[in-house]
């Protein structure tokens, strides 16, 4: 077990805590509670089933959305990147709709999919899916043709080119997009959870804010940060497992 990442996290938490402490003192300690009070509230919240119910609901929504986004966008990006005819057909749609802020469609999604988890998951998946799609497509397009020649010269068919070149070369791009997309996913999660739900960390934060219960609000904020950090580390772990060859240094 490598302790270095944990140590790094601890150091960052310490530095942020000190900055927080300074800001809390400067602001008088009511709007921004002192970090030790927030931490104490956070740890006591972590001992309650209620907190973990919110956490689990949020985690389910964001993980389901990320899985949905990846499983849809990665194969589509692979297809667009490798089959010029498909790309010519779909690329205009993708790039014309890419700059549109998808988040404004949330009311439409709520009307279409109802007030349950479906609309929330679909919203996060749509936003993350665009990033995975575009990154994967561009990544596949940038694969050096010599690798295709290499497999074809051995008598490989299209199926072999897919398995031996396209898929392994595209995976790092798909995983990088997933890892970088964790931040956006959690941000969108917060937004969709501030409407039409009574569960999830986003609701917990907004509910406590309304009640002026700033310590509980910060428990929710810290919980969401924990969720984001955990997702990032999981995506990072998956990337390193699936693309071991990417993390080598060339000795030659």
């Amino acid at each position: 077990m490598n302790l270095k990442p944990l140590l790094r996290y601890a150091l960052v938490v310490l530095v942020l805590g000190l900055i927080w402490k300074g800001a809390a003192t400067a602001l008088g300690g009511i709007i921004l509670p002192a970090p030790e009070d927030a931490a104490r509230a956070f740890f006591s919240a972590m001992a309650t089933a209620d907190f973990w119910a919110h956490f689990a609901t949020s985690a389910w929504r964001v993980v389901a959305a990320m899985a949905l986004a990846w499983l849809t966008a990665f194969p589509l990006g692979l297809l667009m990147g490798s089959v010029p005819r498909v790309d010519a057909l779909l690329a205009p749609f993708i790039f014309l709709t890419y700059p549109i802020p998808k988040i404004v469609l949330l009311p439409v999604f709520l009307l279409l999919f109802g007030l349950g988890d479906t609309a929330k998951i679909a919203m996060i998946a749509l936003i993350l899916g665009y990033q995975i799609l575009v990154t994967t497509r561009d990544g596949v397009k940038s694969i050096h043709p010599k690798y295709f020649d290499s497999v074809r010269s051995l008598g490989g068919s299209r199926r072999h080119v897919l398995r031996e070149v396209l898929l392994p070369a595209a995976l790092p791009h798909g995983f990088t997009a997933l890892r970088l997309g964790t931040g956006v996913s959690v941000a969108v999660l917060f937004f969709v959870e501030s409407f039409a739900t009574t569960r999830g960390l986003g609701y917990m934060i907004m509910d406590a804010w309304g009640a002026m219960d700033y310590l509980t609000m910060f428990s929710g904020i810290l919980g969401m940060s924990l969720l984001g950090a955990a997702l990032y580390e999981i995506a990072n772990f998956l990337e390193r497992r699936a693309c071991r060859w990417m993390f080598l240094r060339n000795k030659g």
């Binding site: 290499s150 497999v151 010269s153 068919s157 392994p168 080598l248």
Partner: protein, 244 residues
């Protein structure tokens, strides 16, 4: 065993190859020398079946080459190894494509690697290897499928002088053992003399064969020290200087 008849190829209206004809017998090797970018790589692509010629035809034992197949192995420039596959998987790839079972193809790949002096690096990735080691792996990959003809595209050009010499001898030794004919493209005249039983000089674009030299001293490791070789090199050099 290999015959090329009046091969021609152009890209975007520009002729790259024009009227290229030659033949290669069993147990023979041919070194093709030409200026950089003259279309030598295109010629090898045509011979391997990866690219179809616009004109002419290629016969292997009298049968036309219709596409890449098990009889012909090509070693591409920059070795053509897949960075996301381990050394042993890279070598076994040709067998995998042909449907050889996992245990057998890994076993054959390991033995081929050992034969080329690379043992115990199976689980490494190409990026872990030096240039010379990568080239050995590429040669192993080409040999493991037991091809009837080998094509090599400037295989040693990016290696340091000592490694290049070692690998030239490794290729020569492999040829002596198996007698698999090969066509080697190079821009080094010395390399052509060490590795070509015959040496074909190409012109600049569009590439055409200008002259074919016989190399009676071929096969000896110490060929570069002989008088005959010295004369051959001088003649090659003067031919080349007039052309390029």
């Amino acid at each position: 065993m290999l015959t090329a008849e009046n091969l021609g190829k152009s890209y975007g209206g520009q002729a790259v190859l024009e009227d290229v004809s030659f033949s290669l017998g069993e147990e023979e090797t041919l070194a093709i020398v030409g200026p950089s970018g003259c279309g030598k790589t295109t010629l090898l692509y045509l011979l391997s079946g990866l690219v179809r010629p616009d004109a002419g035809r290629i016969l292997v034992d009298g049968a036309p080459v219709a596409g890449p197949g098990p009889d012909i192995s090509i070693i591409l420039q920059d070795y053509g190894l897949l960075p996301w596959r381990t050394v042993v998987d890279n070598v076994a790839l040709g067998l995998k494509v042909r449907g050889v079972g996992r245990a057998e193809r890994l076993d054959r790949a390991r033995r081929q690697l050992a034969e080329l002096g690379i043992a115990g690096r199976d689980a490494d990735y190409p990026a872990n290897l030096s240039g010379g080691e990568q080239q050995r792996v590429a040669i192993a990959r080409a040999f493991v499928t037991r091809p009837r003809l080998m094509l090599l595209d400037e295989p040693f050009s990016s290696l340091d002088a000592l490694t290049r010499e070692r690998l030239q001898y490794a290729l020569l030794d492999a040829w002596k053992q198996r007698r698999v004919p090969f066509v080697l493209v190079t821009h080094s005249l010395e390399e052509a003399v060490v590795l070509g039983k015959r040496i074909m000089v190409m012109s600049d674009r569009p590439a055409r064969p200008v002259r074919v030299f016989d190399n009676p001293g071929f096969g000896s490791r110490s060929i570069l020290d002989t008088e005959a070789c010295f004369n051959l090199l001088r003649e090659l050099r003067s031919t080349v200087e007039d052309l390029w």
